[in-house]
Amino acid sequence: MCTVISLHNVSKSYQQHQSILQAVHSVSLNIDKGEIHGVIGASGAGKSTLLRLMNVLETPDQGIVVVNNQTLTTLSNRKLREARRSIGMIFQHFNLVANKTVFANVAVPLELAGYSKKAKGDRVKECLEFVGLRDKAHQYPAQLSGGQKQRVAIARALANRPAVLLCDEPTSALDPQTTAGILDVLQTVNKELGVTIVIVSHEMDVVKSICDKVTVMESGEILETVSIESQAYIIPKNDPKWFLQQLTEKERNSNA
């Protein structure tokens, strides 16, 4: 197996008023090609910072970051921008440009990469087709549901055919049904396109259901990295009667 992302003794700290917060402390981690790698931990454990170090959205204080055989930590600004085009990223709050249509949002990374108008149009359609939103191309993000917005964000992240997809709490703003849908899409991205996925989440069910390997973090350090057998994500029923049943059962229990 070849390594796609590798962190060597990477540290990151923040100045907070008088004190210094050590968000990530001397972490080394290798992520193999084709893997779905989960990072889990409590709030403030440093998992989001760790993810942002992988595309140098956060510049490490120390250590080396290598992605796709390029040492990102030593690249010039210009080269770093080019390298980032083959590292897709999606976020908890989608971060779509609200004043651009779905089509225009997915087209942005292609414009940055200098695609011609024709090639851009074709590629955008392809990406929207992949996430099942081709019919929404001319709508604005505000007209979409949360799950649809995250699909658009995935299409946008995939537009430049990245080797790696970084996901920062991709389902934490979504309900369980929608979460299952997004996890399906991510799995397809991994299986069909061979994209290596890193997924940061505080939801154990999410990590359990799609990851091959999981890194557990605690106060800026890696506690352990384990290989797991992924289990199907269990979707709670969306039936109002089921909700009622759950609620009243609890009440009955407490009455008893």
């Binding site: 921008r81 990223m89 940055l112 604005y140 993000p141 505000a142 970084l166």
Partner: protein, 220 residues
């Protein structure tokens, strides 16, 4: 049409024209210089892309100083500078100099505020895509802030109209100056009221147009 308006028809049209020249050039200056300064103010802030304390402080102090001047004093204070730029300190063109300086300071602050409203996550996603600073400005910041930028320009334009009314002091003319000289100083109260009505009409039109277009542009 009231008789008094017919009597002063030519002067009224001329004063409206002068107001348009003064306010028009101020808007132009606000867009040409105020928009870049406001964008720089935003970019050079602490924790932003081009964090630069020295540049931020100088721009910030410039904007604050200009805006803290009582406008009449700014006009007088800038007379030597105005003479240097347009060759004279008297007349409508001369009046556009202090107005433009005020317009630049005023609009750049509103631009900074509009850009600060853009969610940080959007900038983060732009950086993660490999966008350069100019690309972030034109493909993300200005797109997301466009309705606030337009509303800011609308507010500014209305302030420029108000500022332009005192330009009589350097012979700038305009509707306000006409109302004071003919309406107030010659005791033609009726004429003064008509001029005020004309100003109210302009302000209403500008605000309505600005708000309507901003609403159309806003898809958030």
């Amino acid at each position: 049409m009231p008789e008094i308006i017919l009597k002063y028809q030519a002067e009224i049209w001329q004063s409206i024209g002068e107001t348009f020249v003064m306010v028009g050039i101020s808007i132009f200056a606000a867009l040409l210089v105020g928009l870049p300064i406001g964008t720089l103010l935003y970019l050079c802030r602490k924790g932003q892309m081009l964090e630069n304390r020295a540049l931020y402080s100088s721009l910030n102090i410039f904007v604050n100083i200009v805006r803290s001047f009582p406008f009449l004093l700014l006009v007088v204070f800038l007379i030597p500078f105005t003479r240097f730029i347009v060759g004279t300190a008297i007349g409508t063109m001369a009046a556009t100099v202090p107005l433009s300086i005020m317009a630049i300071a005023y609009y750049s602050r509103l631009v900074e505020q509009a850009l600060l409203e853009v969610p940080r996550g959007i900038i983060e996603s732009a950086v993660s895509m490999g966008a350069s600073v100019p690309e972030i400005i034109f493909k993300f910041l200005f797109v997301e802030a466009r309705s606030s930028l337009l509303l800011g320009l609308t507010t500014s334009t209305i302030s420029f109209i108000s500022y332009s009314t005192v330009m009589g002091i350097v012979g700038g003319g305009g509707v306000g100056d006409f109302a004071i000289r003919y309406g107030y100083q010659r005791f033609e109260t009726e004429l003064m009221i008509y001029m005020i009505i004309i100003m109210i009409f302009f302000v209403q039109m500008i605000q309505y147009t600005g708000t309507t277009i901003a609403k159309k542009l806003d898809k958030r």
